[in-house]
Each structure stands twice: as structure tokens, then as C-alpha cells.
């Protein structure tokens, strides 16, 4: 099974395919569209990620030493971003998630592109995923 690092490399390669940012966004949107919906009963206030302009729900479950993530969002770009993070983190060891360095965000240019807007909640999503991982690893 691919490691967190390997999964990031695959994403970087995918995004290298696009020169224009509008096309990169299109790809994020497609990732959002292909992420399944979170069942309504899991869309609780507790699973809402704070700090996003749109609503983002993040659900985590322990699977042995690993963590399974599910998420949903009412805005499709936010959903695409969280889909990317799930792509990297889902079913990975809790300890590795907590310690992971997400270099791919910088390599893709997403960090520069997204973080100034604050409202997208990228950092909040990562923080929340690592928070779950830490709790399960402990």
C-alpha cells in the first residue's frame, strides 16, 4: 500500500499536467465531485471544521492502527480540497498522519494559492485531521 509520501507524489504528478490555474481548479472540482457524500447523520455540529467560509464536515474512525476519514462540504472547491487530503491520509497509520509533512501543497503551489484567502479552511482541515490522528495514536 502506498505511503503518505507516495500518495503525495502521485498528486503532484497529476497537477503537473495542468499549466493553467483554472485547469488545476477544474481538477480540484472533479475530485470534489467524485468524493462520495457523507451520510446526513454524520453531518453533525461536532464534525464541522471551524474556520471555513463553506461548511466542511470531517468524520474520522479508528481502523486498527490506521485512521479512516470521510468528509463532505457544501462548496465543491472545499470538497475537492478535503478530497485531496483524504486521498493522502485515508487508512494511513495514525502516528504517521500526526507527524506527516504535507510538502505536496507547496509543490503543487496550492499553499500559496489558497492560504491567503483564509476562508477556504485548508489549514483548519489539516489541523483537524492531525488532531484526530493524535487522539487515536495516543
Amino acid at each position: 500500500m502506498a505511503t503518505i509520501k507516495e500518495r503525495q507524489e502521485v498528486l503532484v504528478e497529476e497537477f503537473e499536467f495542468f499549466d493553467e490555474w483554472m485547469d488545476k481548479y477544474n481538477h480540484i472540482i472533479e475530485m470534489g465531485k467524485s468524493l462520495g457524500a457523507l451520510p446526513e447523520e454524520k453531518k453533525t455540529d461536532d464534525s464541522l471544521v471551524q474556520g471555513c467560509q463553506s461548511k466542511v464536515w470531517l468524520h474520522a474512525e479508528k481502523n486498527g492502527d490506521n485512521v479512516r476519514f470521510q468528509a463532505d462540504a457544501d462548496a465543491i472547491i472545499a470538497k475537492g480540497i478535503v478530497a485531496m487530503l483524504i486521498d493522502v491520509f485515508d487508512n494511513q497509520p495514525a502516528k504517521e498522519i500526526a507527524a506527516a509533512d504535507l510538502g505536496f501543497l507547496e509543490e503543487i503551489g496550492l499553499k500559496d494559492h489558497l492560504s491567503p484567502t483564509r476562508a477556504n479552511g485548508l489549514m483548519s482541515m489539516i489541523k483537524q485531521m492531525k488532531f484526530y490522528a493524535l487522539a487515536f495514536a495516543g
Binding site: D74, I76, A78
Partner: protein, 405 residues
Amino acid sequence: MGYDVQAIRQQFPILNQEIHGRPLVYLDNAATAQKPIAVIDAISDYYLNYNANVHRGVHTLSQRATDAMEAVREDVRAHINAAETAEIIFTRGITDSINTIAFGMGAIVKKGQNIVITAVEHHSNIVPWQMLCQRTGAELRHLPMNEHGEVVLDGIEDIIDEHTAMVAFNHISNALGTINPVEAILERAQEVGAWTLVDGAQSGPHAKVDVRSWDVDFFTLSSHKMYGPTGLGVLYGKREKLEALPPYQGGGEMIATVTLEQSTYAGLPHKFEAGTPHIEGIIGFGAALKFINEVGVEAIAAHEKELLDYATEECASIEGFRVIGDSKNKASVLSFVVEGTHPYDLGVLLDQQGVAVRTGQHCTQPIMDAFCIDGTARASFAMYNTKEEIDLFKAALEKAVTMLR
């Protein structure tokens, strides 16, 4: 000569740039307007040539700074036709202006009285009154809104009654652009002897207000929405009302005498201007006022109305496009949703194409709740926007919608 929008644009150097490789189309003017060279120059001139603290200094620079600042107070007085310059108070902004009055009224308002706002207020004209009501036990009421985003006057006699201490409302809604029936609301308030406050945050850049013809007790403006610097607001108040209120903040500038035991307060306007004022902001705002008046408030309003009508008409052909707040009586704001898309996504994809709009709740959560939506995207127009920009905006919006569906 007609309205020369290209000549106006040249006065705003910031507009001449690319965002993500596309020409900037700035349509977030209801949040803040860009600044003309005249404003930037006035601020530079102050710092290059006569920066000094005001009012107390005996030296020449202090005198020049004081004169410049006080000249702006007179310009503001003339702009809104107040009776005297002492009724013009410089604040940190509209939020600060409203808090000044709401705090001061804590000494006057009693349990059993009520405060009336409307359903289309910005949070800054809701929360200070909620706080006043918590402190005094007074009741907070509001005039409702209809499905067009217009304030409804039916039942106003029951809502504004003889126990109403204050009626506070905005001239133009920031989230929807609706122009409120100011005179009708003021008339009822005055009939029962209530105090009145009109929030001119959105009307300042588009409408000339005569506070004496309205006979309003308080009126407030925001510099940065009127092409002036941020961090500065104006609070107009009738002398007798301002004198009846205690000062909001204590400190320097606002006192007559101070001993370690007690102080007496300065007269108007200084009683409400504790601390060193925003001198550069005031001087910059003076330049902004002059600029607006040279272009002409009515000419600006007519230009913006043309843009609003054009944008509303053009965007109607986008499938699922819905205007939020479709009153016929609107100024310069196009708040909208597009079915099957989230405002946040629209905002991001418009930005990618160089178009700046605002998305979200616009500090008006109660309005969004009433329309049962999480938020809108909002395009708002200013004196320097063009029809060509609206075409770019529409094309960018269509592209965004196609990508999102």
C-alpha cells in the same frame, strides 16, 4: 460633457493591474472603495510636510495640521448640511459611531422602553443595541422585511410607539442594496418623540444627505467606503442630543480640567474624541470628499444605477441566476446566488479570472436566514466601473458556473 469614466479610472492607479494574468475587475466596492491619487497625495503631503499632533501644540506644524484637520470638519458639515462644525465628530468608523451613541444612551434608556431597528441591518447596527438592551432591560424590536428585501411599513405604528427611545436603521442595505424608506420611518419616529439614527455606510458614496431636511438626530458615514482612508468615520449628532449623552471613552483631548480625583469634559466635538485623532485619515478623507463632489454625487449615482441595471439584465440570462433583494429601489449592489453552486466557489473562480466580488453573509446573518440561504455572492459598483467590466464579470461568472455544474 458626459460622464468620462476613463478619465476617472486614471485617478485610481490600483485599477491598472492584472490578477492571475487577467485585468483586475474590482467589484467589491461596498466593502471598501479604492482611493484616488488625490487622497494618496494628501496623506503623503501631510507626512512629508506637516505631520504634527493637533490642537495642543503652539508650534507652526501643529497649527498647520490642526487647521487642515479642522477644515475637513467644516467640509463634512457642509457636505451633509449640519448646523455647526461642533456637531461633526470623527470616530474610528461606523461601528464606533453607533457604539458611541448606544453606550451613551445607557444613561438615558430605561426598562419599559424599546429600541427599533430593521430586518436589513448590518451587524454593527444590531449588536450595539442588543448590548444596550441587555444593560438597561429595554426591548429590541425591528421593522420586518418582505421577499424583495424591502423594509415593510405595515404595522409601524405598533412597532414604533410612545415607549420607543431610539429608531436606528441604515439608509441603504449593504447586503442587498435596498434603499430604505428613510423619510417614512423618520416621520413615525419623530411623531412619537423617539431619537433617530441613520447609518449612511452604503449611502455615503452614492447619495447626498441633508441631515437638517431629514431632521435626523444622528447620522454616520464611513471614510473608506467613500474613497477615503480606512479607520475613520463621521458621527453627526444634533448638539442638544450629543450634549445629553455622557462621553464614550475617557482620555486626552476630551477633557476640560483633570485632577487626580475628577475631571470635567470638553465641549463638542472634543468630548467624543478621546485621544489623538486619525489626523492623516481625516486629511485624506477631506481630499476624498472634494474628489466625490468634483465628479458629482448625482452623476456617480446615475452611472452606478446604469451599471446595476445593465448587470442585472445581463446576468438574468445565466441559468439559475437569482438576485437576492430585487427591490426596484436599489443602489449599486447586485447580491445573487446561482442554483447548484455555492457562493464561495463562485468567488474563488471569479478571482481566478481577475474579478473581485465578496461572498458570504456580508455581516447580515439575519437577512440570509430570512432568505433561507447560507450566503450570496455580491458584486457592488463604484464610480470607476465600466460596462466592459460587467461583460468580463458575466463571462467569468458563466465560465465558473459551467465548471461547477
